[in-house]
Symmetry: C2
Subunit: 439 residues, 2 copies
C-alpha cells in the first residue's frame, strides 16, 4: 500500500473528536477505499488537557496552529476551529501558503472568505474541500459540484438548518409554541445556548451562499441573502397551515432571475408553506434536505442528518479520501466547480417582481371594521385573496388571528398592502408573511 | 483553455441522442466546469439514416464499433448500446484494451461483467465509470463511492425501478388493478412492450448488485439476488396496506449479515410494505430513491428521476466531466471504490433466520373452516399473528381475501407455514408474502 496521507487536525470540539473516532473505528476500510492509510500526525486545540473521550496521546501536539501548518509531516490541514475570521482564517491561509491541502467544516469562513481561499488553493495547486460545511453528512457539495455538473441548475432550495427543522416539526407534532420547543431543543443539545445564529436564519444563509456559488457559478454573496428566521411563527400558524394542506419549513432558496438578459442572483432564507405532497414536507427532526433542479437531470434530492459529530466527521473524512485518491477536483482545483477567475459577479435580484403565493397572518384587534380595513388594503395594492380565515375567539390580549393565502401575484403588491396597513391601530404587532413553496 | 476531451459515442437510442443534446445545449457550462470542452469526435449505431432529432453530420461515423474504440482521436468511449453481452461487452473490452476510458449506462453489463472490466481498467490505468447505470440522473454511485466513503454501510435499500414505482403509485392513487395500469404505463412509454425485465424485478436486481458491491466491498453477485416482482399485487392488497398504514413499493435491499463472524451478503428485491412516515413512502411516479445507512453518516437519501433520456444523459456527462477534470477515481481506478483484487467474495446469506414482520395475503374458498386451517398452520409453524382481516364478501370466482400481518419473527417460520398449507384445497392460488420495511 502507498504512503499514508498525513493530516493535522486543528480544533478538537465534538467534530474534531468525531473525526478521530471515525479514523480509528473505520481505519481499515478508509485505507482500502482511499488506497492508503489516513494518519493523524499533529493536533492543536485550545486546551491540551480537556477530556474529549478520545485518546490523543499518539499525536504530536502543537500549541501554535500556524506552526502546525508548516510541519513537513503534514499533507492536509483539517480546520475545525470555527468562526469566519480569526484563528481559523489565519490557519487556512497559512496551510495553503505552505502548500498543504485544506479540509474544513467552517461554513461561515467559506461563505465569507471562500473565494480568497479557493483562489489561493488554485494557485498553490492544493485541494480546498468543505463538504462538511453544508448539510453535515450529506454529500451535497459533491452532488452539485460533480454529480449535477452537466446541468444548468434552474433552482436550488432546501432545508439547511437542523435546529429550525427540529423546532418546526416538533411544534407541528405537539402543538406547542416556539419558546417552549426551543427550550427543549437547547436541553437536548440541538440548539445553542444563544440560538440566534440558527433561529434567525444566519446559519442557513451561510450554507445557501456556498451552494449558490457552486450551482450557478456566481461569486459567493452572503451579504445579499434575504434572511428571515422562525421566531415569529406561532402554534396557531402551524395549525392554520395544516388546515390549508401545508407544513411550515425554513427554506433556503436560490435561483438566477433572467431580468431581461441581465441575470441577477436571488437568494433567500425564509419560512415557507410546503404542500403535503412535496418531498420536503416529510423532512422531520434535525434533518437537512437539498433539492437541485437541473435542466437535464430534473429534480435531485439529497437528504440526511444535517449536523452532529458523526455525520460531520463522515463528510470531513470523505474529503480526505478524495484527496488521498488524488481526486483534487480538477487539474487546478476549482473548489466551487469552476475556477474563481471565471465565477460571475452577479447583482442581487430584487424580490418585488417575483411571482408567488403568500401566506399572510395578522394579529388584529377584535372589533368591527378590522377585516374591512385589511381587505381594502389588499384590494388597493392589487393583492388577490384566495382564502381568508379569521379565528372566531379572541386570544389573550384581546387579539384575534386573521390568516390569508393570496393568489399568485408579484411580491411587491403584498409589500405595498402591508405598507398601507402600517401604523393602523387595528394591527397588534407586525404581520407575518411566508411564501408558499411552488412546484 | 486546455485541449478538448474527445469522446466517441456508441449507440444512438434515446439516451445517446440525449447526450448529444446535452453536450450541445450546455456546451459552455460543461466546458467551464470540466476545465476544457467535451467534444464528440465519432459515433456509431446500427442505422446511420434514422432521424433521431439531433444533427449528427459533424461527427465521424463508424460502422464498426471496434474500429471506433481504436481511433487515436478518441479519449473516452461512451457505451450506450445496451445488453449484458454481445456488442456492448466487446466494445467495452476493446476500448479499455486500446487505453480509452469507458463510460457506460449499461447496468446489465456492469452487474454481470463489471469486475472483469474494472480489473482491466485498473490495469490499463483508465477510468471506468457507470453513474448512469443506476438510478438515472441521481448521483448515487458517486454518493456511495465517494460521498459516503468514510462509512461502514450498515444497510442499503431503495426504489430502483421507475416503471414499477409508477405502476404501484398509480394503482394506489386510482384503485385500478395491475394489468390496467401496466397498459397505461406502456402507452406512456414508462414500460416496455415486453415489461417482464422491469415488473419481475430483474432490472432492480441489476442495480442492487452494483450498489452492493460499492457499499460493502463485496464482489458483484447478481445471481444471488433473491428477486420477486410486482405482478401478483392486486388493488385489494394496496387498499389493505393502506388501511394498515402502509404503501407498497418494490424495494431492493442489501446488507451484510454477521452470521457468527462469517459474514454473508444478503440481497433481495421484493415488494415491501413501507410505513407512511418513511421517506420512501412518499416516492411517487417514475422516481428512484436510494437510502444508505452509514455508521457515522446515519441515513443518507438520494432521490430523483430514475430513467429517461435527460436524467441518464446528465449522469453520463457527469462521468465525462470527472474524467476531463482528471478525477479518475484514484491513482489506479477502483471503479467499485476499492480495487477489484481487494473485493471480498462473500457467500450469499440465507433469509430464513432473518427477523422481520410480514404481510401475507391468501385468496381462499368462501367456506367454513378455512380460517381455522390457515391459523392452525401459522400456529404450528410458530408464526405469531398481529392482525388479520378477512374481507367479508366473496369476490368473483367465489374466493375471499384473507390478509394478515405477523409479529416479528424469523422468515423461515412463514415459509414453513406456507409449506404446511401447500396443496390445501382451501387456497385459490399462491399466497403473496411481502416484508414490512423496518425502521
Amino acid at each position: 500500500m502507498a504512503e499514508p496521507l498525513n493530516i493535522a487536525l486543528a480544533g478538537l470540539g465534538t467534530v474534531g473528536a468525531g473525526v478521530i473516532r471515525l479514523l480509528d473505528a473505520n481505519a481499515a476500510l478508509v485505507a482500502r477505499r482511499a488506497g492508503r492509510p489516513i494518519r493523524i500526525t499533529a493536533i492543536s486545540a485550545r486546551d491540551r488537557t480537556k477530556d474529549r473521550g478520545v485518546d490523543i496521546s499518539g499525536y504530536a501536539w502543537e500549541d501554535d496552529m500556524t506552526a502546525m501548518a508548516a510541519r513537513p509531516d503534514v499533507d492536509v490541514v483539517v480546520e475545525l476551529v470555527g468562526g469566519a475570521d480569526g484563528p481559523a482564517l489565519t490557519l487556512a491561509r497559512n496551510a495553503i501558503l505552505h502548500g498543504k491541502s485544506l479540509v474544513t467544516a467552517n461554513k461561515a469562513m467559506i461563505a465569507h472568505h471562500g473565494l480568497e481561499l479557493a483562489e489561493a488553493s488554485e494557485k498553490a495547486r492544493v485541494a480546498l474541500k468543505f463538504e462538511a460545511a453544508v448539510a453535515g453528512g450529506i454529500p451535497v457539495i459533491k452532488g452539485l459540484r460533480e454529480g449535477a455538473a452537466a446541468n444548468r441548475i434552474e433552482r436550488l432550495y432546501g432545508i439547511l438548518n437542523g435546529t429550525c427543522n427540529f423546532i418546526l416539526s416538533t411544534m407541528e407534532d405537539t402543538g406547542r409554541d416556539f419558546a417552549d420547543v426551543l427550550a427543549e431543543a437547547q436541553a437536548k443539545g440541538y440548539a445553542e445556548a444563544d440560538p440566534s445564529f440558527d433561529v434567525e436564519g444566519t446559519d442557513a444563509a451561510h450554507k445557501l451562499a456556498i451552494l449558490s456559488a457552486i450551482a450557478f457559478g456566481t461569486r459567493t454573496d452572503f451579504a445579499s441573502v434575504e434572511t428571515a428566521g422562525i421566531t415569529a411563527i406561532t402554534a396557531a400558524d402551524i395549525a392554520q397551515a395544516d388546515a390549508l394542506g401545508y407544513v411550515i419549513r425554513l427554506i433556503g432558496i436560490a435561483e438566477v432571475d433572467d431580468h431581461g438578459g441581465m441575470p441577477r442572483l436571488f437568494q433567500r432564507v425564509q419560512p415557507h408553506l410546503v404542500p403535503f405532497d412535496h418531498p420536503l414536507a416529510h423532512v422531520d427532526g434535525a434533518t437537512n434536505a437539498v433539492v437541485a433542479e437541473g435542466n437535464f437531470s430534473g429534480r435531485l434530492l439529497f437528504q440526511g442528518a444535517g449536523a452532529g459529530d458523526g455525520p460531520t466527521a463522515s463528510a470531513v473524512v470523505a474529503d480526505l479520501i478524495d484527496i488521498a485518491r488524488g481526486d483534487l477536483g480538477g487539474e487546478a482545483g476549482a473548489p466551487f466547480s469552476i475556477q474563481v477567475a471565471e465565477m460571475e459577479e452577479m447583482a442581487p435580484a430584487a424580490s418585488g417582481h417575483r411571482l408567488g403565493r403568500a401566506y399572510i397572518r395578522f394579529l388584529v384587534a377584535d372589533r368591527p371594521g378590522v377585516l374591512a380595513e385589511i381587505t381594502a388594503a389588499m384590494r388597493d395594492a392589487g393583492v388577490s385573496i384566495e382564502s381568508l380565515i379569521q379565528k372566531g375567539r379572541a386570544e389573550e390580549g384581546g387579539t384575534v388571528m386573521v390568516a390569508m393565502v393570496t393568489h399568485e401575484g408579484p411580491e411587491a403588491r403584498v409589500t405595498e398592502a402591508l405598507r398601507l396597513l402600517d401604523g393602523s391601530d387595528a394591527l397588534a404587532g407586525r404581520p407575518l408573511v411566508m411564501q408558499l413553496l411552488g412546484e
